[in-house]
Amino acid sequence: MSIVSILGALLILIGLWGMLTQTNIIKIIIGFSILDTGIHLIIVSIGYISGRTAPILDRAVSQADALRRVVDPIPSALVLTAIVIGLAITALMLVYAVRMHKSRGSLNINDYEDLKW
């Protein structure tokens, strides 16, 4: 296992711990953002081959020997989409937090007990 995937797994665990134990809504969203970053690190680390360079054909890497000198372009493409979607979902969650605070006046998640029996 490479070191970047261990780093990503650590960030996932820290983010998950933050989401489970914190009571402030903004802290929960921060934990989600850290979890997101950890997942992206793991995905990009799958495509890395040591000693190779970025998958762009220009003067440095010609088309003929591209097969021996580029890293995998597919995980980069997937993570590109995932980062933008992570931003959109974080923005939507924050707007929900703003509305929740406006209706009830507190940011503590223990005050929103409407779904408990």
Partner: protein
Amino acid sequence: MVKRFLMLVLLISFALMILPLLREIRPATELPPLAQKYVQDGPDELGAANLVTAVVVTYRGLDTLGEVAVLFIATAGVGFLLRRKEKKLGSSPKRPASEILQTGTDFLMPLIFLFGVYIFVHGHLTPGGGFQGGVMIASGMLLLFLSNSATRINHTVLHFVESLSGAFYVGLCVLGLILAAGFLDNRFLPLGKLGSLFSGGAIPIIYSLIGLKVGSELVGILENLRRNDS
């Protein structure tokens, strides 16, 4: 106390679940077979020098279409949740921004816009593309908002840019269906020489539309969040 213990148990079981995945990630020496096919056939088939762009726009173009849809839904949600009920006239007087910020913005904002447009027009040649260029344009608009708090964006223009670029993007996908081999095929424009600006078929046009759409949506989110009356 019991809750804390249960959370710890949950976390440990999650870590045990991730462990086999981490053990499978061995440092590889060869590209996987699918990546080999994309790297070998990509430049000849599609004419794009940036292989990640080729994968994002054409080979996995449906993912990009879904992502544009998710962004649109998120922006619509933000705009819906933060709408104001009546027009408030005359907000409280705000302190004007410092002179460094204003002068810097006057100097930097056109450069940022130009750089953002450069990034998404050259998306098939250099690292970059529609998403990065759109985010840079949104950052330029954010600088304008910060330096001059009385800036108002014409919402009609924003809505038109966003909707039209989204519609044209889907229209180009369907055009690929009619004129070339399939949905989101980019070969209905000439492929050109690898590495020149007018290469890659319709990839520059598609990425420019995506960049405009992403940029205008992010500007919409920022504008909704910063409005002075709530």
